[in-house]
Amino acid sequence: MTSKVFVALRVKAPPERAFAAFVGEIGAWWRPNGLFQTTPRAPGVLAFEPRAGGRLTETLANGKVFEIGRIRAWEPPSRLVFSWRQANFPPELHTEVEVRFEAVGEETRVSVEHRGFDQVPEGAARHGFPDQALLMRLAEWWQRLLTSYRDTSA
């Protein structure tokens, strides 16, 4: 078993649009968080390579490209799974994010499940937080991210 953080909200768009905005406009709606730094540098711009096996990258101000993860399931417009790692994770640790898009009437319920964050060991990435505090902060961040995504793009 692995820990899970789940958050969901509704956007006023069909799944096709919601999926396209999530993937295609992540550079616009993403909001970095100091607690979950992807790299030691200032936050860059995120982008997906929109295909099965594509990368999720962050392009830093100095032009360097950091690979956050890879797309593990590419099922537009209903489901997307990608791996997630931060530069301060141990090399073998990849957490996983699953995003689902379900039509509800004329809206879409967009949910994010981030799995495996309890495996982040003591050290820079954990900020000394016990599991529950870490997961709560992660959930609150994903709520802010989805709200930004809804208000900015979807």
Partner: protein, 147 residues
Amino acid sequence: MSGLRSAVFYQDPKAALAWLEKAFGFELAMLLEDAEGNVAHSQMEFGDSYVMVGQEWSADHKSPKSVGGKNTQTVHIQIDTDLDEHFARAKAAGAIIDAEPQMQFYGDKTYRCRDPEGHIWTVSQTVQAVSREDAEAASGLKITGWR
């Protein structure tokens, strides 16, 4: 944001999350599970508010199921449309009905039920505007702060 939110405790919070969606149409907005799959925290949304659904976590945080069905507070669900349909859906999901839908003197139609662990829920829809004078006459109560 300022406001009131309730936390409701269950022996089996995961079953409660599924039941509250099926019976009342609440939507899961946040769920935290530890590595053993236990619910650490959850929020279910309805309209502009949410309830937190959690595990019994201390000797004083109990499900009604653990304390002989006793409730010391209830959560009230206010809806805008079709109370009878809401009632039918809850009943079909297995809600135990304490009071069938009926009109109240203040202009709401209401029903009352219990979920599988014995939490009492009240459900209400305003269907008619009633003046303070009429409500006082109908109930025999002196009413302050009528809106």
